[in-house]
């Protein structure tokens, strides 16, 4: 056995801004560019070719059998790294050596066709993922029982529930048995039971001595499953360290920006359009940006965004997560039926959605704010699970006469009744 599973050297990937947006060109553009190329150099300087390095000077090695976590904000280059490793896209410079077959769970359900039955899709998807026909046949029963779709195996998958569909898709990918498994955010979808299954499968894979690269925003999953973690930011590898250290570094360094988070243009994915996030801020009652909040006082979260075009059914909301990545709650600005009616269509413009988080809700500790902008069942425009981090100060919270850490993420002020029974039932 070789000593490395993955060797990455000086890896870089450059995107032309227009190209990253997925803009195909028209012949007319190519012709007109060909002619404008002859124009003066002055004009060329005025318009420098807009390009960004989604990944630059990345170096690392992975030993076989290790589970490596990858964390980073949106636009940090995680997906680009995975795409290069799974040979979907070519690097602009540098070199990667991969020893063995790379399977990736970012392609769950790739090539699934709704008209085909579960059985047919297993064969097709397996072939797309690079399995041999004999291999698929040998594992067929195992895949079906893992996905729990026995009775529907000859039904077109368009009649499947979304949960069944996902389970089947994951089952095929999970049985690929690659030497190197790449897992990207699949855990964000599916129910808790399914997520548990995915994580279980991943640790099995690792126990069998195969290499796993795990990309996630879920810090508790990263902590549970990986020993070592890479921290990426703006295309650069900032740190490689034991997971506990790396997560701590990531959460403390990458996030706190004095109570507000402004999104740079290169951090906003192209598919967010026409939604453009501007900022999320933590504020006190007076509207000042603050770094932390107190359990005993309400605080405010404000999301500022621009709509380039009108959006129907848009909801903008926040998540609150613990520093371990567990969700505390999710709330949207149109949760209220009245607002839901009123804002069924939002015209273009700049908006602020502001919410009061009441006092005596969160316990003391560190929390993370995530932002989500979506139209239900239509599209998720923007999603950043780690937009901002802040500390809650427990001073003045219920029970602070005892200077101890309270277990739990919420710390409500509750009304206790204490009654003393007068010995009647006692005797």
């Amino acid at each position: 056995m070789s000593k490395t599973a993955i060797h990455v050297e000086n890896l870089g990937k450059q995107y032309q801004i227009g190209q990253q947006v997925g803009n195909y060109r028209t012949l007319r553009e190519t012709f007109s560019e060909a002619f404008s190329a002859k124009k003066s150099a002055v004009e060329k300087k005025a318009l420098p070719p807009e390009s960004i390095w989604a990944l630059e000077d990345v170096n690392f090695d992975v030993e076989p059998g290790s589970v490596l976590g990858v964390v980073g904000r949106n636009g940090a280059g995680k997906s680009t790294l995975l795409k290069i490793l799974s040979r979907v896209t070519e690097p602009t410079k540098g070199l990667v050596e991969v020893y063995g077959r790379v399977g990736s769970l970012l392609e769950v359900g790739t090539g699934f066709h709704p008209e085909l039955t579960g059985r047919e899709n297993i064969s097709l998807n397996g072939a797309i993922l690079g399995m041999k026909k004999t291999e698929i046949e040998a594992k067929f029963d195992e895949i079906v029982s893992f996905a729990e779709v026995e009775t529907f195996i000859d039904t077109p998958v368009k009649r499947y529930s979304s949960g069944m569909y996902l389970r089947l898709a994951f089952a095929v990918a999970a049985h690929l048995e690659p030497e190197i498994l790449v897992v990207d955010e699949v855990l964000a979808v599916g129910d808790a039971e399914f997520q548990r299954k995915c994580l279980g499968k991943m640790s099995d894979v690792a126990k069998e001595g195969r290499t796993v690269l795990f990309v996630s925003h879920n810090m508790s999953a990263i902590l549970r499953l990986t020993q070592e973690t890479l921290v990426l930011d703006k295309g650069h590898l900032l740190l490689r360290a034991p997971t506990v250290e790396a997560v701590d570094y990531y959460l403390s360094r990458g996030l706190t920006q004095e109570g507000q988070r402004l999104w740079q243009p290169d951090e906003i994915p192209a598919q967010a359009a026409p939604f453009k996030p501007v900022a999320v801020r933590l504020q006190d009652a007076q509207g000042h940006v603050v770094e932390g909040a107190r359990c005993s006082e309400p605080f405010y979260l404000e999301v500022e965004y621009e709509l380039r075009k009108a959006i129907t059914g848009l909801r903008v909301g926040v998540y609150i997560l613990t520093s371990q990545g567990e969700f505390v709650f999710t709330s949207f600005d149109t949760d209220d039926p009245g607002k839901f009616e009123e804002y069924s269509q939002r015209p273009a413009g700049t908006y602020k959605s502001r919410v009061e988080i009441p006092a005596y809700l969160l316990n003391g500790g560190r929390y993370v704010v995530g932002v989500n902008a979506s139209s239900y069942r239509i599209k998720t425009y923007f999603h950043d699970e780690q937009a901002l981090a802040f500390n809650m100060d427990a001073t003045g919270a219920p029970g602070t006469q005892w200077p101890e850490n309270r277990l739990g993420t919420v710390r409500p002020e509750l009304d206790w009744q204490i009654t003393k029974s007068n010995g009647e039932g006692d005797s």
């Binding site: 997925g22 195909y24 020893y99 090539g111 797309i128």
Partner: protein, 289 residues
């Protein structure tokens, strides 16, 4: 017992394979790497099968379309070109004369239509998983063979009806079919790769197909073309295909000669250049599509 057996299987699998894959930027004209295509040959089969299966499941008439399209075109041609305009048909009944040409032509035009959109239509696959991208247009071309065979059965029926006996050269049909497939694949590789970069191809395609049909001897015999222009005329490889079909099945038209040679050479040129162009553009697909 069972678990022991499994672990042995797994070990043998993982040990046989750990091949080293090197990923680095490729510049300019990349090598074709046909070996990769061979490794993924099962996927070619599965994609072809998927194209067929989905088409037959989704359409009301299913396989009947394979026959209806060339058949109805033949009826229209027979009425307007054969009867009304009196276009000569080399002494063969006009319906069978045009239908013999329409079968390989339908294969070709359908391949162009499906294959040139294959990359764009399967963009979700291209952006998610690696496989030789050439498989997509290739599978679209190959799926046409089934339609071809169905339409061919109808031709046999027509030959019986018109009492046309096939010539002894009927064994050469697979060769001319191959020529049609090579041409279709070559052109499809060019068009599908260009379609990723320039969506104009979608608009060019109907025009291109129509234009191409007029310069191919489908509604008329190639004997109508003046002798001195014949070789130039054969630069269109579909001319060689159609002439070959008529010669092998009906005994009309030109026996394979210089024209067939020119057609074959052009077809091979289209295929090889198409492969290189496709390979060169391939590395941008995931970012552009």
């Amino acid at each position: 017992m069972v678990s022991g057996k499994q672990s042995v299987e797994k070990r043998s699998e993982t040990h046989s394979e750990p091949r080293k894959i090197i990923i680095r930027p490729t510049g300019g004209w990349a090598a074709l790497n046909l070996r990769d295509l061979w490794v993924y040959r099962e996927l070619i089969y599965f994609m072809t099968w998927r194209d067929l299966k989905v088409r037959y499941k989704q359409t009301l008439l299913g396989a009947a379309w394979a026959v209806l399209q060339p058949f109805l075109t033949m009826v229209v041609f027979s009425i307007f070109f054969g009867s009304l305009a009196g276009v000569p048909s080399d002494g063969v009944p006009y319906p069978i004369f045009s239908y013999t040409a329409l079968i390989p032509w339908t294969l070709f035009s359908k391949a162009l239509q499906d294959a040139s959109r294959s990359l764009v239509n399967n963009s979700h696959m291209i952006t998610k998983v690696y496989f030789p991208r050439m498989i997509l247009p290739l599978a679209s071309v190959l799926a046409g063979i089934v339609d071809f065979l169905i339409a061919f059965v109808v031709l046999i029926g027509m030959m019986i009806f018109y009492h046309v006996t096939p010539t002894a050269n009927i064994w050469t049909i697979p060769l001319f079919l191959l020529l049609a497939l090579v041409t279709a694949t070559g052109v499809s590789l060019w068009l599908s790769a260009m379609n990723v970069l320039y969506r104009d191809i979608n608009y060019v395609l109907p025009f291109l197909t129509q234009f191409w049909m007029y310069i191919t001897p489908i509604a008329y015999p190639s004997s109508m073309v003046p002798e001195k222009w014949r070789l130039l005329y054969a630069v269109n490889p579909m001319t060689g295909v159609v002439e070959g079909f008529r010669w092998a099945l009906l005994g009309s038209g030109q026996a394979p000669g210089m024209m067939t040679l020119v057609s074959t050479l052009v077809a091979i040129f289209l295929l090889v250049s198409g492969m290189f162009y496709f390979k060169r553009m391939e590395r941008q697909f995931a970012d552009m599509v």
